[in-house]
Amino acid sequence: MSSSAPGGLEGPFKFPNSPEPQSSSSSFVVPYIEEERPESPAKHGLDEKDFEKLVLGSDFVDESNVDEDCNVAQELKKYKYNIFVLSSAGKPVYSRYGNEDKLSTLFGVMQVLVSFIQDSNDVLKSIRCNGCTFTFLSKGPLILVSVAKTQQSDTQLLSQLTYVYNQVISVVTLSRLTKIFEQKCNYDLRRLLSGSERLIDQLLVFMETDYAFLLGAVRVLPLAPTARDDISNIIVSACSKIKNLVFALLIANNQLITLVRMKKYELQPSDLHLLFNLVNSSESFKTAESWTPICLPLFNPSGFLHCHVSYLSEDCQACLMLLTVDHDLFYTLSTAKQKIVETLRRKGSLKDINDALALKPISASELGIYGLRHFMCKSRKHPQFWSSRVDTPYDTPEEVEHLMSLYQNLHQHVHHPTRPLKLCYQQMDSEIMLGHITAEYEFYFTFEPLVTKSDAISAAGRLPSVWLKDDEEKKKFIFTDPTF
């Protein structure tokens, strides 16, 4: 694994008047520079001493300033993946762990790092040292920084930051964000974000545990194509006369049932993820019909869509989202929703949904393929995927996390920016990973460690015919594209 920072940082990189540390009390030395010296900063003209000074700045070393829980060094060392959002003025906006106020020194340092390099018309992308990767993303008035002890690729780390940025945009919109900071560059954005930190918290957990983000796709609730078509048609006929309705989607248990869209407009996977995240992290939608603004950054970063959100009924926990550009459409959509539920009930669709929800995804071992532990399959044409149940030996959260890191690693090799692979075989310590790209699908497999290479590859070739036989393919993926 290469550990060089991406991006050419040729420009001069000096620190005017870095404060001298007053003492070098070891408890405040940032741990990742204790053993190994940071490579990247040195490469870009920042000498180690400067870096240390900068990161340790005088505040860090002043013991009276540092109580138990704001020890920045501890703070950085403690977590596997931490993330900070700050304004370009260095004001805290969000931090995943700990209290942002107490981390204000760290925020200051991050701002300085980014702006120094910006001053030389360059971009700071990442710093790697002592097993930690600092990834930076500077967008408009915001700076996002992650500190990861994981083995993810630069692309993956950057994509996580972009998701968090998009989540912020989704709450405040880009136009509002830009305007606010134009008027007042020292604005404390936490005022507007208060209450939505939960959305970011949840998004991070979602990214760490769900393959949807890695694959850039959504899960689909398996349904017979006729059952799904019925549902889509019912939604279309209840909504087709409603002007300005852009999207209607039905989601259950983090899986897409159907998505109906206005011709001309499409919903990108990352926007879909934000909608999934909104539903997953908002318990309050379960108790009442809600009317909420949401900005979908890829659809349109500058404005809100208005979303009528409601669960279908007490006895069917699928969530219907009707998205419009018209803020006066609540009552119309509320009536349409009632009509949709009535018809779904009459046609037996609520039962179809409940039956599908009751079926757990199969485990890879049920397929009778020797040594296959787990696999997933993503459609290349549609941003949809399916994954088998995570089963023994991945029983503990640590094991599940381990499996995720294996797939992250496999995925980054298959999708190497300059050298993508059609077939990728990895012999790891305790498993064999295999990636296989066909014309229609991307397959990712986990095998027992003792399976031979040829067995693994031939199993991978055989799987589609076993697993996608008969109509299974049409159940697991949505090939239709209903529109209003």
Binding site: L192, L193, S196, A288, E289, T292, H327
Partner: protein
């Protein structure tokens, strides 16, 4: 019994995040209370049919989110409101101090015909808690200065005064509705002092 048309009243609940707006509504509509805080995202919409003054009234209740980010987005549902419930938390001075801003914002956004008499009711919630920060007197005084808004001290948790509060807002909304219908009716001709005929173009608004 006179077959009067069914009345529908739109009521908006406003106040800082966490003061108990959703809890009050849940207590009123579903007779339930939960200690768990589930922030309202945007606004929730509920309806309840009640008998007020021998009349069936459907209350359309908009339970709004107190979080700052939703505040300027109120326009769409404030408009056409018949009554507004302002809530603060009796254990939080800040939430009480915000009442002015909530009331002003509401009046600006909803622009009711008659701001003087618009039906408001103020609820000081969570009186079951020990750590009281806003005295009854202080709250009452504020209400008096705002044209005598009725004030109730409530507990969504123990169902204290919740029914009464909603009933009061419904009653004053009905009263105002009657009044407005009357006002809408073309009034008697008022002759100008100098007795010029009113040709209907006198109003240039």
């Amino acid at each position: 019994m006179a077959s009067r048309r069914k009345l529908l009243l739109k009521i908006i609940i406003l106040g800082d995040s966490g003061v108990g707006k959703t809890a009050l509504m849940n207590q009123y509509v579903n007779k339930k209370f939960s200690n768990q805080y589930k922030a309202t995202i945007g606004a929730d919409f509920l309806t309840k049919e009640v008998m007020v003054d021998n009349r069936i009234v459907t209350l359309q209740i908009w339970d709004t989110a107190g979080q700052e980010r939703f505040q300027s987005l109120g326009v769409a549902f404030y408009r056409g409101a018949d009554g507004c419930i302002l809530v603060f938390d009796t254990t939080s001075m800040n939430s009480f101090a915000s009442l002015d801003a909530w009331r002003d914002e509401f009046l600006i956004q909803s622009s009711p015909k008659n701001t003087e008499n618009f039906p408001f009711v103020v609820l000081g919630n969570k009186i079951d808690l020990e750590n009281r920060a806003v005295s009854t007197k202080r709250a009452q005084k504020w209400c008096q200065t705002k044209n005598n808004i009725p004030y109730f001290e409530t507990s969504a948790k123990e169902a204290v005064n919740v029914e009464q509060a909603f009933e009061t807002i419904a009653k004053s909304a009905i009263a105002l509705e009657k009044e407005e219908i009357y006002n809408d009716f073309p009034g008697d001709i008022i002759l100008d002092r100098d007795n010029k005929p009113n040709n209907g173009a006198a109003c240039n608004c």
